[in-house]
């Protein structure tokens, strides 16, 4: 049970990173459809950086770089060239798959045994990690999960209690007003996409070097989309995203648990599909969405 909860919290970490970055971007009017590709590049960059340097820190930095480059291309086409976000994002995702599979082959050839790195280790916090139940679940995690605890309140504060947050939200609700106030709408939106590149890159790295210690091209397998969905389901709010990430992290932990314990009551496939079914059900049943008014609409200045 404790093991299951620990794993649930762990699995929700990358989903939270991804969905919070999506909250910021979408509040400013930008859907980051390329999130799946950003995750993939992050996972790959993280693995390559770590493998070649032997340092997890350099791995994470490489993941951030890979994520930002992907996001920069996506943002340039959608923010500045004003092309359709869904279409561009899908193209970037296909390209990301091609680039990663190709470059992986260029760098590593066809290795006989799978390449592995030592993944991030849990850092138990002294004393409080000894508290029954809560201790091992919450305070015996790796550094990225600890960062997750901080990101929720910080991003909530930035988005709703600061003038920067107000500007971001206005860019998605009423970009004309932002423009009249002398602030460059496109620059705000582009920055949010780049931040999504940073956080999505870290999220992707979590899958490769955060716990598996290896990389395969199907390592993300739709988790970017799940993060994207959590942003919707969490009503474009960091608090909602936190709850969503926990729910999906738990669903994923249960799926892993059921697969390894060989449960016969339900077929495996049901558990693998569980997060996706959950998304459909929640999308249908949630009533009060407050979608940013200009979500997905490029800002074209009247001249």
């Amino acid at each position: 049970m404790i093991d299951l909860l620990t794993r649930a919290l762990m699995m929700s970490t990358p989903l939270l990173f991804g969905s919070i970055s999506e909250v910021f971007a979408e509040r400013s009017g930008m859907m980051v459809i390329a999130i799946e590709g950003i995750f993939l590049l992050g996972a790959w960059g993280g693995f390559v950086g770590t493998y070649l340097s032997g340092s997890l820190l350099i791995g994470v930095l490489a993941a951030i770089m890979a994520g930002v480059v992907t996001a920069a291309i996506y943002g340039w086409i959608t923010v500045y060239l004003k092309q359709n976000q869904v279409v561009t994002g899908t193209a970037i995702n296909i390209l990301a798959m091609g680039v990663v599979s190709f470059l992986h082959r260029v760098i590593f050839g066809v290795p006989i045994t799978p390449l592995t790195v030592q993944p991030l280790q849990a850092l138990p916090i002294p004393i409080i990690s000894k508290i029954p139940i809560i201790g091992p679940v919450i305070f015996n995690q790796n550094i990225l999960t600890y960062m997750m605890y901080l990101i929720v309140p910080i991003s909530y504060f930035i988005l709703f209690k600061t003038s920067i947050g107000l500007t971001i939200r206005s860019a998605g609700e009423n970009p004309e007003a932002v423009d009249v106030a002398g602030i460059n709408v496109n620059r705000i939106r582009y920055s949010m996409v780049l931040i999504a590149g940073v956080m999505g890159g870290i999220a992707g790295a979590f899958y490769s070097i955060g716990y598996l210690g290896m990389f395969t091209t199907n390592i993300i397998g739709g988790r970017g989309w799940i993060a994207f969905a959590i942003c919707f389901l969490g009503n474009w709010n960091p608090k909602g995203a936190f709850i969503g990430a926990l729910v999906f992290g738990l669903a994923e932990a249960i799926a892993i648990y059921m697969q390894s314990s060989g449960g016969v009551l339900f077929p495996n496939e049901l558990f693998i599909a569980l997060p996706y079914i959950l998304t459909i059900v929640l999308t249908i049943t949630r009533k009060s969405f407050n979608v940013p008014a200009k979500l997905g609409v490029p800002y074209i200045k009247e001249s």
């Binding site: 869904v86 899908t90 390209l95 969905a229 999308t283």
Partner: protein, 360 residues
């Protein structure tokens, strides 16, 4: 007269920019080959010469293009109504599943042609119903069709994997695949010595039908009106909710047809996780063709050629098969950039016309 000239200029832009986009996309992939210490000119020489080296290979281009025509039509159809069907891959799997299961049940019990017709109808119905559920929850619960359709693919994949290791599994129970279909329920080939089956002709006929449906019928008109401006559509009395269901039914049915032609025309069985990028490539093709059903035929043939040529290039010169995804991805990105270039050219022309009008 001027209208004709304008259309021509637009059409010329479309051809030129798309051609440039394809060349640049392939050029970018060629540059990547340098990283592998391969000579890109040689490699692309193989790509182009290999696809026309013999009848079998050349015909294979159209074999590969067949499911792509369907999946691109599936995306394009809802796109015309400003709806996003990102679940084409899942609808394709549902279609393949129904085609395989019903073929296995019907084969030998009736003449092959009759069985094929029934299988085809069942596939369309199954894919259509699966798709229309997306439209239904959009119409009834205002659910976001983008998210629901995207997630439905993973559910379809789960259903397929489950059935392939239980009731549909081949008799030896070794591999997650079905028994091979009887030759009586194979789609017949129409060029001797190739794999080219009549599914390709079906795809072309369906593409033309979709064009007629979209541009020459009241239903198509309503779909496009909803796509242009949903408020205007509502005010003119169009029931957009019913349209969501209908559009997604047709879209799902189109995607499922790809499953039918792949199972009965190419694989002759259902394999776990086969053709995993039909949906995404279909979206790319729809973009390349500007969502025009006739343009989709040609764009799908291009992707088919890249697929066949890329595979041979890999076999002959040790270039990984991911080069295919790389080429398709780069071509798609450059095609999107060409949309931007075209709108710039259009704006410039409009400005020139305006100046001219003012001067006169």
């Amino acid at each position: 007269m001027t209208r004709g000239v304008l259309m021509n200029a637009k059409f010329r832009d479309l051809l030129v920019t798309n051609f440039l986009a394809i060349v640049l996309g392939l050029g970018a992939s060629a540059l990547m080959l340098l990283l592998l210490d391969k000579n890109p000119i040689e490699a692309f020489g193989i790509l182009f010469s290999s696809v026309i080296r013999d009848k079998y290979t050349f015909a294979d281009i159209f074999v590969k293009a067949t499911p792509l025509i369907f999946s691109a039509l599936a995306f394009a159809f809802t796109f015309k109504a400003n709806l996003y069907n990102i679940g084409v891959q899942g609808q394709f799997y549902i279609g393949a599943l129904i085609a395989a299961a019903s073929s296995l049940i019907l084969q030998g019990r009736m003449p092959g042609v009759l069985a094929l017709v029934i299988v085809f109808v069942l596939t369309i119905l199954g894919g259509g119903i699966w798709g229309s559920l997306i439209g239904f929850v959009k119409a009834k619960y205002k659910a976001n069709e983008f998210l629901v359709s995207m997630m439905s693919t993973f559910v379809a994949l789960g259903i397929m994997n489950y059935l392939l290791r239980t009731v549909l599994m081949e008799t030896k129970h070794e591999y997650p695949q079905t028994n091979a279909l009887d030759t009586t329920v194979w789609l017949p080939t129409f060029i001797q010595g190739t794999r080219l089956h009549i599914g390709f002709i079906l795809a072309v006929v369906v593409a033309i039908s979709v064009w007629i449906l979209l541009y020459k019928t009241p239903l198509g008109y309503r779909i496009r009106v909803v796509g242009y401006n949903s408020d205007a559509a509502r005010m003119s009395g169009i029931n957009s909710k019913r349209l969501y269901v209908v559009a997604f039914f047709i879209s799902g049915a189109l995607a499922a047809m790809a499953g039918f032609t792949e199972v009965n025309g190419v694989q002759h069985m259902l394999l776990q996780g086969f053709n995993p990028d039909i949906g995404a490539a279909g979206l790319g093709i729809a973009i390349l063709a500007n969502a025009n059903p006739i343009g989709i035929i040609f764009a799908a043939i291009l992707f088919g050629a890249l697929n066949v040529g890329g595979t041979i290039m890999g076999q002959m010169s040790g270039i990984p098969s991911s080069i295919i995804e790389l080429m398709q991805g780069f071509v798609m990105v450059f095609v999107i950039l060409s949309y931007f270039v075209r709108s710039e050219l259009e704006t410039r022309r409009a400005k020139r016309r305006l100046f001219k009008a003012v001067e006169e």
